[in-house]
Assembly symmetry: C2
Homo-oligomer: 101 residues x 2
DNA sequence: TAATCATATGAAGTATATTTCATATGTATT
DNA sequence: AATACATATGAAATATACTTCATATGATTA
């Protein structure tokens, strides 16, 4: 069902920066400036990343004056991360996963 | 906490062929030849894809003579796919997700 | 044990996604 | 209304992942 909806969703998660953003927003919602400082990453990178995360409704925004505060759509993501944590804990002992192709 | 284990895992899922393999194995375990016929894809592509899926323990293998039968490690994957299905059903109405970057 | 079948693998070529940089847009402040 | 601040966006450059093709390996059969 909706097979192709998997692809863009996972493409979003298969990215170090986007995952860092997700993990950062998991603690607390943040605006773009705060994210750039928190992750020490250039602003446009953050904006580009947020843009695709927002596409898939992984994050949402609210505008407050000139700032835009991004926050996690926790519904889906937190459950997925927990599943992966369990998986990794059980199955990913080796360094094999480092060199995916 | 194992942050980087997310990355290779999702990289595996962010791929049409690998997802097709997963969905095919969801129905029934198969050897490489069966997968190539089922998905109409060249053998080495299937083997490469299986290799990285196996890395992350998304699939497992058992050898039977000269055949190798691959099967899903259903533990994690099926739950994740179900979460994504729910997510997609609720949040992915638009064609926005098609043009990720 | 030579031949065949099933699968794996390396490396170059190609496709796709990310980064970078310059600039645009939109909101607030003076 | 001009300036400054916050964020977004386009496009070229770069990095990364995938595909292809030729060949290797390992198991079975004649």
């Amino acid at each position: 069902m909706i097979k192709n909806s998997y692809y863009p969703f996972f493409t979003n998660l298969a990215n170090k920066l986007k995952m860092d953003i997700i993990l950062s927003l998991r603690k607390k919602e943040k605006n773009v400036t705060e994210l750039t400082k928190d992750l020490v990453v250039e602003q446009s990178k953050i904006s580009h990343a947020l843009s695709s995360l927002k596409c898939c409704n992984i994050v949402k925004v609210k505008q407050l004056g000139k700032q835009r505060t991004y926050y996690l759509n926790k519904d889906t993501i937190l459950k997925i991360l927990k599943l992966i944590d369990n998986h990794a804990h059980t199955y990913c002992k080796s360094e094999c996963c480092e060199k995916i192709r």
